[in-house]
């Protein structure tokens, strides 16, 4: 039906739908839930709906016959609207109505050739066989393309899948693709159609916490990047997400917040208590919440709903809190592939995504990472791990940036608090004895202030001491100088006396010599 209806609405190709099993009223009702208004299409002469009953008990077969009646009917219907698309649901009904298989098969062969001749594209449904593609081997006659559908239970959640078995004249994906039937038709989400061609933006956007922006290369997250915030219970992940959303809304950007753990009102209330008021943004339509229990439906359905909402709402920022709630629905590979598709979709539209993840490791060190987290983290550009630092009989909040692609980032373990003014990063208190948190940091802070005061005093004292010593020294020097000066004087006097004595003696000696008239 999707084939025929979309042909009319999207491609202006009228169509014919023949139902062997459902009555026309049932068709109308059933397809209304998929958003198809069949009445309108019929009225607009774009669609011909017909129901053909084949009741075996009514018919006795008395000799040779053919199905020309069907051809005539089909022909009339096609001509009525100039149809280019025909859907027949289901041919199996013919097999249960007529017992002569030989005639049936040859007529079917004739039918498909006839349809081809008429230039219509026909979609025919048939029941799956055990081990064969169809119960009656219809695929032998259907020339060009065979698609099989499957409806499977996995982890108690049902998923529909389709697979293209053959497609003549064209390359086709051969994998199984999950698909969904929702309120606007069928959507298929193949993994392999996503290539890594999204552009990388150089624009930076604030995290909502100025000091965190500084830690992230001074400017914040890259636009269009994916951010993982992981941590154990109660470490503040949702608060970080809400702060980011708040900042984006302040910039006038639309935000979409998917929550899997709390209800919208619960989250609003909780964030209000730490000073993040998201209500105004909800009222003005900048912020939209989508809260649902993860076990409500399959991973594919979640993805489809999320993609649809993103497409309709057009946000610039998307947050998912927490992604860890998705793990119970599928296995690691599926969750990872779902996230990968979501992230790729967001990146292609330059939407920044923030994802929170609850880590379970309580016993291992705070940076121990579970394998699932490791796999998911490789999809993310920026990774913050929040942890509670225990010590001194209390726990304090801290976080660290594990990685942030494309920028230089701080590697500090930073303490933060959730006050009624929101998230505030505290100064890194690095004393001489290491980094401190919480009340021990306060104690250490005051201790160090005391120390500093004391040292100052000590220094002052020493200064005074030196000063007085210097003064003493100067006095001593002065005394020594005087003493030396005196001694010098005395010495000079003595030397003077010595010299005059010597002269006097020399004089006397000469005189004596002269008196004696001695030869020298």
């Amino acid at each position: 039906m999707e084939f025929v209806v979309r042909g009319i609405t999207d491609y202006q190709e009228p169509g014919v739908f023949i139902a062997f099993e459902e009555k026309i009223d049932d068709l109308r009702k059933n397809f209304k839930s998929m958003g198809f208004d069949l009445d309108e299409l019929v009225r607009g002469k774009k669609l011909v709906l017909d129901h053909i009953t084949i009741d075996r008990s009514e018919i006795a077969e008395t000799g040779e016959y053919d199905l020309e009646g069907l051809f005539i009917r089909l022909g009339a219907m096609i001509d009525e609207v100039g149809a280019k698309r025909v859907a027949i649901d289901t041919l199996e009904a013919l097999f249960s109505g007529f017992s002569n298989e030989a005639i049936l098969r040859s007529e079917l062969r004739r039918l498909f050739l006839w349809l081809k001749d008429r230039g219509v594209t026909a979609v025919v449904t048939g029941e799956r066989g055990d081990g064969t593609i169809t119960k009656y081997g219809l695929e032998e006659y259907v020339a060009d393309c065979v698609i099989t559908l499957d409806h499977r239970l996995m982890n108690q959640i049902a998923t529909r899948r389709l697979r293209i078995v053959k497609y003549r004249g064209s390359i086709h994906g051969t994998d199984e693709y999950p698909f969904l039937i929702s309120s606007d038709g069928i959507s298929v989400l193949p993994i392999t159609s996503l290539s890594l061609t999204h552009k990388a933006s150089a624009e930076r956007i604030s995290t909502g916490i100025p000091r965190l922006d500084t830690m992230l290369g001074v400017k914040g997250y890259y636009r269009g990047s994916s951010i993982l915030v992981s941590g154990q219970a109660g470490t503040g992940k949702t608060s970080i997400a809400a702060t980011f959303i708040d900042a984006a809304c302040r910039r006038g950007e639309r935000c979409l917040f998917f929550i899997f753990e709390e209800s919208e009102s619960q989250l609003l209330r909780n964030m209000k208590s730490i000073g993040i008021n998201l209500e105004p943004w909800v009222k003005t339509g900048l912020l939209k919440f989508h809260a649902v229990r993860p076990t409500a439906y399959s991973l594919e359905m979640h993805l489809s709903v999320m993609l649809k909402l993103i497409g309709e709402f057009g946000p610039r920022v998307v947050a998912v809190d927490p992604i860890s709630n998705l793990y119970p629905i599928g296995d690691d590979i599926q969750v990872r592939s779902m996230l990968m598709r979501l992230i790729d979709f967001a990146k292609a539209l330059q939407i920044t995504g923030l994802f929170t993840n609850l880590s379970n490791n309580t016993d291992a060190g705070a940076y121990a990472v579970e394998p699932t987290e490791m796999h998911v983290s490789s999809l993310m550009d920026t990774w913050l791990i929040l942890k509670n630092v225990e010590g001194n009989g209390e726990r304090n909040r801290a976080f660290t940036i594990i990685k942030s692609r494309g920028m230089v980032h701080s590697n500090q373990l930073r303490e933060f608090v959730l006050s009624d003014k929101g998230i505030q990063l505290l100064d890194v208190y690095k004393g001489r004895e290491g980094v401190f948190f919480g009340s021990s940091r306060m104690a250490q802070e005051s201790r160090e202030i005391d120390d500093r005061l004391r040292r100052n005093e000590e220094t002052e004292r020493k200064k005074r001491e030196i000063e007085s010593k210097r003064k003493l020294m100067e006095i001593e020097i002065e005394m020594l100088r005087e003493k030396y000066a005196r001694e010098e004087k005395d010495m000079k006097i003595l030397i003077g006396q010595d010299i005059s004595r010597e002269r006097a003696e020399a004089e006397i000696a000469r005189e004596i010599a002269t008196q004696r008239q001695v030869d020298r």
């Binding site: 018919i59 006795a60 040779e64 199905l67 009646g69 005539i72 009917r73």
Partner: protein
């Protein structure tokens, strides 16, 4: 080739009890081999086994294609007994006389 007449009446036989009139409709699609065989067979069976007034209508779906939809005809030829009720539907060229008789509930009537 004899053309396919629209209706065919037989005169009432005087000695036989009067049963309600039969109306039989044969749907064909043009003058195909099966159509002609069917008509011939039908005529013979009616001659031999129907001892009352009967009417055979032949409807050519190629000339009136909308009747295929209106009367829910898929296989051709299809024979419908309109009267007496209940309506009976038989497909095929009516070569298997036994089956035709059973289908038309004529077994009970013939002697």
């Amino acid at each position: 080739m004899p053309s396919v007449p629209k209706t065919h009446r037989t005169p009432k036989k005087k000695e036989e009890p009067v049963n309600e009139a039969w109306i039989l409709r044969l749907y064909v699609a043009g003058q195909t081999r099966n159509s002609l065989i069917a008509f011939e067979n039908l005529r013979k069976i009616c001659e031999e086994h129907l001892e009352c007034q009967y009417t055979i209508e032949v409807i050519d779906l190629q000339k009136n294609p909308q009747l295929a939809r209106d009367h829910q005809i898929i296989a051709v030829p299809t024979l419908i007994r309109k009267l007496p009720t209940p309506v009976k539907k038989i497909i095929g060229n009516l070569s298997n006389t036994e089956k035709v008789l059973v289908g038309l509930d004529l077994r009970m009537m013939s002697r």
